[in-house]
């Protein structure tokens, strides 16, 4: 999980916006806090499951890299849990990142690498590279949605939709390379149409843009395909939602380490072996 | 309607002094470019049956325009043309009239490039109620008459200028017309071919006694006719009988 890792977590944190019920008032213009508040239903239990397919292209790659990833989320009151699991290809199958944000705005969680390696997300860990890439854990795990004092930074039309731009600034002492995040929000769409993350020197680190929107059963639009661009590495990742439900009852147990480790073992015991294709894991 | 006139005409040579007026044109005017150019300024003429007439004048004098009017290829802006007393303006289907009555020979030959000599000559015949066999026979006779039997299956592009004009002449006789109109028939030919074509036209006139009107700028060509009408600036200015 390298640059793609960033992508996932940004996706996840973008999803942290949850289901939108954006109220529109006439004048005066809403404050950032009001816009964001409108994005989060309060005091309800809700979950989602997303099946995604990631295709990464970068110079030096002969063929685009493809990954299958399952993302599950669950909100209970003010606690928000998200789990990303890589399903395929076999070399990285089973890797997972779990994050939990609670009402006091702290983030906790862990990184799991099969068969047994669990690394908790501590403040020290945040500055270490993730899975040996040039991206730190903190870069990925940062949940900018929790940063204090977001401001309305303007309006812009993106893909013929009027958006409000909200800016987040990293609080002092945060261990992160990313100092500033801009988010484009349209009232008709459940997630931001665009997210841009900037480094301390003002350079663009990452841009996530919505490529394709689909109508959900609630007649709300959801982002079905996202493009993640990391200029420094000239890489592009297209994240396509291939299935799942924006409104699913995901049981708590799914977010436990046991369950996360468990599904790999299920495979090992349930399937018949064939030479050269057994999954890694204890026999 | 379809009488076999050719035999009658071969036996009895035409008598130019006959008083039957074949064509009479009065006060012909023709404008082009919405009145900016006047090609004919009141041309008159009278042609007797069986006459061989040349209309001669410098280029731009309106002689081609006059010929086109006489051949019902165009309509005058003013004036009248009568064929044996009948006004051309009264004729509704001019194409049918042309098919029966008039044969044309053009300066640029105007043969159909995709058809052979034999087929080209038969083209006008499609308007006559003759069978395919009839048409072929008549065309073969005509082609023989102009001396091109050995080229009968050739395409026009394989013929010289003179040969093409001969085919055009044969074609003009296809429906046994009573009038032959020739617009600068030797204009695109070298002097040898030109002579041969004029000989041919003369022979046709003698043998068939047809009324023939030829338009030319060249006085040496005009001299082959029995009567020369001179034109300048859209009007007839003089008349000559070179052999009288």
């Amino acid at each position: 999980m390298t640059a793609r890792g960033i992508a996932i977590l940004l996706l996840v944190s973008a999803l942290g916006g949850g289901h939108i019920a954006l109220g529109q008032t006439s004048a005066p213009p809403p404050t950032a806090a009001e816009i964001l508040a409108g994005m989060r239903p309060s005091g309800t239990t809700s979950g989602f499951v997303l099946r995604t397919r990631l295709v990464r292209t970068a110079p030096g790659l002969a063929k685009p890299e493809v990954q299958q990833m399952l993302i599950k989320g669950r909100r209970v009151g003010d606690t928000f849990k998200v789990l990303c699991q890589i399903l395929w290809p076999p070399a990285v199958k089973g890797r997972a990142l779990y994050t939990e944000v609670s009402s006091n705005r702290t983030m906790s969680g862990f990184i799991f690498e099969p068969p047994d390696t669990v690394t908790p997300l501590t403040p020290e860990k945040m500055s270490e590279p993730l899975f040996g890439s040039d991206v730190s854990v903190g870069d990925m795990a940062e949940d900018f949605w929790q940063w204090p004092g977001p401001v309305v930074a303007g309006e812009e039309t993106v893909d013929k939709r009027a958006c409000r731009i909200i800016e987040f600034h990293a609080p002092a002492g945060a261990s992160t390379n990313c100092l500033r995040v801009k988010v484009w929000i349209s009232p008709d769409v459940a997630s931001p149409l665009r997210v841009e993350k900037f480094r301390a020197d003002g350079q663009l680190m990452t841009r996530i843009s919505a490529q394709r929107l689909v109508k959900q059963s609630t007649n709300r639009l959801a982002v079905a395909t996202r493009l993640v661009e990391i200029p420094a590495r000239q890489s592009r990742v297209v994240i396509e939602t291939t299935g799942g439900s924006g409104d699913a009852d995901v049981p708590e147990v799914d977010f436990t380490l046991e369950k996360i480790k468990g599904w790999l073992h299920d495979d090992a015991s349930a399937s018949t072996h064939s030479p050269g294709r057994s999954p890694p894991g204890p026999e | 309607m379809t009488t076999d006139r050719s035999s009658a005409q071969k036996l009895a040579p035409a008598n130019p002094t006959d008083d039957r007026v074949f064509i009479e044109a009065t006060g012909l005017k023709r404008f082009y470019d919405e009145g900016a150019v006047q090609a004919l300024r009141g041309a008159d003429l009278r042609i007797l049956e069986g006459e061989f007439v040349a209309i001669q004048g410098p280029s731009g004098c309106g002689k081609s325009t006059l010929l086109q009017l006489l051949g019902a290829l165009d309509e005058p802006d003013e004036g009248e043309i009568r064929f044996q007393g009948q006004s051309l303006g009264d004729i509704h289907d001019k194409a049918a009239f042309r098919a029966r009555m008039i044969g044309f020979v053009f300066q640029s030959f105007h043969l159909l490039p995709t058809l052979s000599v034999l087929e080209n000559v038969q083209i006008p015949m499609l308007e006559m109620p003759w069978t395919a066999g009839d048409r072929r026979r008549r065309a073969t006779v005509l082609i023989e008459a102009v001396g091109l039997s050995d080229r009968i299956r050739h395409l026009p592009r394989k013929l010289s200028g003179g040969e093409r004009q001969r085919v055009a002449i044969a074609r003009s006789l296809a429906n046994e017309p009573r009038l032959l109109l020739a617009d600068e028939p030797t204009g695109n030919l070298d002097s040898d071919s030109a002579d041969r074509i004029m000989e041919l036209l003369g022979a046709i006139h003698r043998e068939r006694g047809m009324t023939m009107i030829m338009v030319t700028h060249d006085p040496h060509v005009a001299v082959h006719a029995a009567r020369i009408l001179r034109m300048i600036d859209g009007r007839m200015v003089a008349e000559e009988k070179p052999h009288a």
């Binding site: 499951v49 099946r51 397919r53 493809v66 299958q68 399952l70 699991q85 399903l87 395929w88 290809p89 199958k93 109508k215 059963s217 291939t242 299935g243 699913a248 599904w263 299920d266 495979d267 349930a270 399937s271 018949t272 064939s274 294709r277 999954p279 | 325009t65 086109q68 051949g71 290829l73 165009d74 309509e75 289907d93 194409a95 049918a96 042309r98 098919a99 029966r100 008039i102 044969g103 044309f104 053009f106 105007h110 159909l112 490039p113 995709t114 058809l115 034999l118 087929e119 038969q122 083209i123 006008p124 499609l126 308007e127 395919a132 048409r135 072929r136 074609r171 003009s172 296809a174 429906n175």
Partner: protein
């Protein structure tokens, strides 16, 4: 030599112009034929899935928004077995998934004893028979696409399935599908106890009237569910409807482009012959004959172009079918109807394209026409 000979010689003598015109017409017609053939093939393929099974009715929760119908309780299916005239009512799970690095494929889950397995032809291995076994059978095209043989593993969502068999189906879309048992499909998609539709076989001798009553019963006893005939079910699918509209739209565009191209070519060729028309008028041809000549030439060229276009369109579709991207999804349907339609279009175009210029040209004064170079 006859009038028709003249026309033939005209067309042959100007071979380049004739060929260009025929090509122009052929392109337009080929486009129409190809588009229509593909869309009809798509419809037929979809229909065949259900007719191949011998399914008479499909019961589902109707929704036009999604490519697959919404989930509903499996237990409702049991109640359908008890309805009059129903011979068999089998629950079906179906989904569209992205598998490994491939884009979307059809994923089916059927009960081991269901009649739905019977229409498939097993070419290698065996069927998944056990609800607890993580086994899957692949259609021949799916096996090709994923490059798997019997005994290999394939990752479907969170489960690693073993390929136990490879099958062939009369319905093209099924050949690129993955099929497992209902329980496994439900488990892996985390939809335990849920299905997407019920496939029903009716008892022999069910009349139209019986069918009507059955529809009513479903409507009143199971609000939210609808019974549709296999055909209707296919038609109600959002994907099918979109494909239909798309193909209609592209056919219309192709036809317009083709028509404009054809008419342009024919008009050009006629206007080029104004001079010749002048000669013909001068040497005695009546206007009617000239118009007939131009008309016949236009129609002949369009007819030839139509024939070439039909062959080219059909050939193109066959070629498309061989491309790896399209395998399993594109199937042409060249019916007699389509051929007749194409020929008619070509003839009509030819006639219309010839008529106007023919009329205009023959209305000229010969002297005017002769003046054209």
């Amino acid at each position: 030599m006859t009038f028709l000979t003249v026309i033939a010689k005209n067309l042959l003598g100007r071979s380049t112009r004739s060929l260009l015109t025929i090509t122009g017409v052929a392109i337009g017609i080929a486009a129409v034929v190809a588009m229509t053939s593909i869309s009809r093939g798509f419809m037929k393929s979809g229909n065949r899935i259900y007719s191949a099974h011998g399914t008479d009715l499909v019961v589902s929760k109707l929704s036009s928004q999604t490519p697959v119908p919404p989930l509903f309780e499996e237990s409702l299916g049991d109640q359908f077995r008890a309805l009059p005239h129903v011979e068999v009512a089998d629950p079906v799970f179906v989904d569209i998934l992205s598998v490994e690095d491939k884009p979307m494929v059809l994923f089916f889950g059927w009960e081991p004893g269901s009649y739905l397995w019977q229409h498939l032809k097993l070419v290698q291995g065996r069927w998944p028979t056990n609800d607890t076994e993580r086994a899957v059978a692949l259609g021949t095209l799916a096996a090709e696409m994923l490059e798997r043989k019997v005994g290999d593993k394939v990752q479907i969502l969170t489960g690693e399935f073993t390929v136990v068999g490879i099958f062939e189906s009369g319905a093209l879309l099924e050949n690129s599908a993955l099929v497992t048992t209902l329980r496994q499909a439900q488990e892996i998609t985390e939809s335990k106890g849920l299905i997407r539709h019920i496939s029903i076989k009716l008892k022999a001798g069910t009349t139209e009237q019986d069918l009507k009553e059955l529809y009513e019963t479903v409507r009143t006893r199971f609000p939210g569910l609808r019974a549709l005939s296999a055909n209707e079910f296919m038609e109600s699918n959002l994907g099918i409807q979109s494909a239909r509209v798309m193909s209609w739209a592209t056919s219309a565009i192709a036809l317009t482009v083709g028509a404009v191209g054809v008419m342009n070519t024919l008009l050009m060729s006629v206007f080029e012959r104004v001079h010749e028309i002048g000669i013909l008028l001068a040497i005695g041809w009546r206007r009617k004959r000239i118009m007939a000549m131009i008309l016949l030439e236009s129609v002949t060229l369009s007819l030839l172009g139509g024939i070439v276009g039909i062959a080219a369109g059909a050939g193109f579709v066959k070629l498309l079918q061989m491309l790896p991207r399209a395998r399993g999804f594109i199937e042409g349907d060249m019916s007699i109807n389509l051929t007749v339609l194409a020929i008619t279009v070509a003839l009509v175009l030819g006639a219309l394209s010839g008529l106007y210029p023919a009329y205009r040209a023959s209305r000229l004064q010969p002297s005017e026409a002769l003046r054209y170079e």
